[in-house]
């Protein structure tokens, strides 16, 4: 963790050469992210130029991570390096557009890496090959050598943003539960990783069962549920210091399913008293609480709208789990889910326009999205057990956990576009569940 903090502090945006231009909105090179099927845009990322002795390997690795990020979206298709006609040997030399046109690379990313005195500098440019122009302007990032993946992600975020017109999500992290051991003796630890599964770091020891970590909007704190005291209680952890503390509560009373309000000051969570589970809010600084629901049923899994004015949650007050929206201060809730089956784990999108959820119907589990009024429901996945969606910072991708069936069943993380395309597994060292996607860094 300390290493990460160091990385954070030293990975500074060193210089932005000129203001960023929203060229993508007017230029000819543009991917419109729509619900329809897209033909991935062909692009090329030749190895970055090593501008100092010993930077060769890093220059290649950074170019590969940029390509993995872009291709991984399903919106871009890399023209393989074997097909390249031109080589870029100097960052400043003119681009031979004809050579890149000939292999139908519509976009070209060129870059250079230098490494001196424990500091790495990465420069890059994005080219619209068919227009023969630069897309946006060159930028450079600097940081410590162990932050090289972050610099690569920052380059890829810029490329993505310039071509799609939307912000990226590659330089972001995911907090999740790392799982090991058989189903009936499963050990669970909190862990944090880059969005692509790299740089896994553990936040708890695994002695106590932990569940459902949730990032604050600034990515600096994590709420989670731990059995450290013998029963589930909400804890908060400072990511920078890996120090955690239990939130105030009544002895012997279970609290769980916490989530931060957008301002990071308030926490919503569930408390079980007798047979009844309700949603409460706590001011994290003072410990003052307020009860938001009071039905005799199970009310849980609350999630704020991005403006903090409303909360979506699940309740079985109608007999089965359904989704409801209420004012953030509590009060009357309106049901928004109306299809067959049970709806749970709602999460408001960062754009504010959609809600992702888990749906259980006819023996299958689905991850789905709907408008905040419940309309336009769309199921994105189906399996024996899909659960617990979390949104990418730009609201275009959803990560969730998928558990396989049977005695050898294990959980792993997957991501899928909100269009339902590009379902893929996120590689983690062990089993993984309960992902929570943090902000763009």
């Amino acid at each position: 963790m300390k290493q990460f903090v160091a990385t954070c502090l030293t990975t500074l945006l060193l210089a932005v050469m000129g203001p960023l231009m929203a060229l993508a909105q007017n230029g000819p090179l543009r991917i419109e992210i729509t619900e329809g099927v897209v033909e991935p845009l062909p692009y090329a990322v030749p190895d970055f130029v090593a501008e100092s002795a010993g930077a060769q390997e890093l220059a290649q690795q950074i170019a590969r991570v940029v390509a993995d990020d872009l291709t991984g979206t399903g919106l871009f298709r890399e023209v393989p390096r074997e097909a390249h006609i031109s080589r870029i040997t100097s960052f400043g030399s003119p681009v031979q557009f004809a050579d890149w046109k000939a292999i139908n690379a519509q976009a070209l990313v060129s870059g250079a890496v230098s490494s001196e005195g424990g500091r790495v500098v990465v420069k890059f440019r994005v080219w619209d090959v068919f227009a023969g122009t630069e897309l946006g302007e060159g930028m450079q990032f600097a940081g410590s050598p162990d932050g090289w993946r972050r610099m690569a992600h920052k380059v890829a975020d810029q490329v993505y943003s310039r071509i799609t017109g939307e912000s990226g999500y590659f330089d972001s992290r995911v907090v999740f539960v790392s799982e090991s051991g058989p189903k009936d003796q499963r050990a669970k630890r909190l862990a944090v990783m880059d969005y692509d599964g790299a740089n896994v770091q553990y936040l708890t020891s695994g002695d106590a069962l932990v569940l459902a970590p949730r990032f604050s909007n600034d990515g600096e704190r994590v709420l989670y549920t731990s059995y450290e005291t013998g029963l589930p209680r909400v804890h908060v952890l400072e990511v920078g210091t890996v120090q955690s503390r239990i939130l105030p509560g009544q002895d012997g009373v279970m609290s769980f399913a916490p989530r931060f309000a957008p301002d990071g000051q308030t926490v919503v969570y569930s408390i079980t008293q007798g047979a009844n589970t309700d949603i409460w809010a706590m001011d994290i600084a003072s410990g003052g609480t307020r009860q938001l629901t009071s039905a005799p049923s199970i009310e849980t899994a609350p999630s704020y709208s991005p403006d903090g004015s409303q909360i979506v949650f699940e309740s079985d007050r109608s007999g089965t789990q359904q989704l409801y929206v209420m004012p953030a201060s509590g009060g009357e809730a309106r049901r928004i889910s109306s299809g067959q089956g049970r709806y749970s784990t709602p999460v408001w999108s960062p754009r504010g326009d959609m809600i992702a959820f888990t749906k259980q119907n006819a023996g299958r589990f689905h991850i789905g999205v709907m408008r905040t009024d419940g309309s336009e429901e769309r199921l994105l996945t189906a399996s024996f057990l899909d659960e617990g969606p979390t949104w990418s910072p730009n609201g275009r991708v959803i990560m969730f956990a998928r558990e396989t069936q049977g005695a050898q069943g294990a959980s792993s993380l997957y991501s899928v576009d909100i269009s339902g395309r590009n379902l893929k597994r996120v590689r983690t060292p062990d089993g993984a569940s309960d992902p929570s996607w943090g902000p763009l860094q």
């Binding site: 058989p182 009936d184 589930p232 079980t272 199970i298 899994a301 888990t358 005695a407």
Partner: protein
């Protein structure tokens, strides 16, 4: 269930008498029984000691099962709990923690709440039969601690449970 547990208690009682008698007249035989754990030897704290948590677990019956997404107690569950009530009345030095569980067919937070409902059903029943609430606590593990690991109803049925764990008391 109820009949068999009464029979077992009766047999345990006989075994105690036999042991006492044997101890009086034949030391060698008693030593042998105790050493091998054969019938007739009651090792305090073992499953053959009716005052032991092990006896509660194995003979009285420490768990009740639930239907899918339900927390209501059926006749069989109530019979088991009646046995628990008797035991807890007799062994008033002990407290109990009731653990509620769910099968894997549900989402995590809901299953925590559902396990809480189940454990609370058991706790309310025990209290209604005269066990002081101060001796009881409950906790839910949701779907986190299955005892059977297959993904069929045969396993799910055993995982939808509330287990009464005897703990040393008295506490406050």
């Amino acid at each position: 269930m109820r009949l068999s547990s009464k029979l077992t208690m009766l047999m345990a009682g006989l075994a105690v008498s036999a042991c006492t008698n044997g101890n009086r007249f034949d030391n060698d035989a008693v030593d042998l029984n105790q050493a091998t754990g054969q019938a007739g030897g009651v090792v305090p704290g073992s499953a053959s000691d009716p005052a032991s948590p092990a006896y509660f677990q194995q003979t009285v019956g420490d768990r009740v099962l639930f239907a899918v997404d339900q927390s209501a107690l059926g006749p069989e569950a109530r019979a088991t709990l009646d046995g628990q009530v008797q035991w807890l009345r007799t062994n008033s030095d002990y407290n109990a923690v009731i653990e509620g569980h769910a099968d894997e067919q549900g989402t995590r937070a809901y299953n925590l709440a559902l396990g809480g409902r189940r454990a609370n059903s058991v706790m309310e029943y025990l209290v209604s039969q005269g066990i002081p609430a101060s001796r009881l606590r409950f906790v839910s593990y949701g779907k986190e601690r299955p005892i059977e690991i297959c993904s069929d109803e045969s396993c799910y049925a055993k995982n939808r449970r509330a287990v009464t764990i005897i703990s040393a008391g008295p506490t406050s």
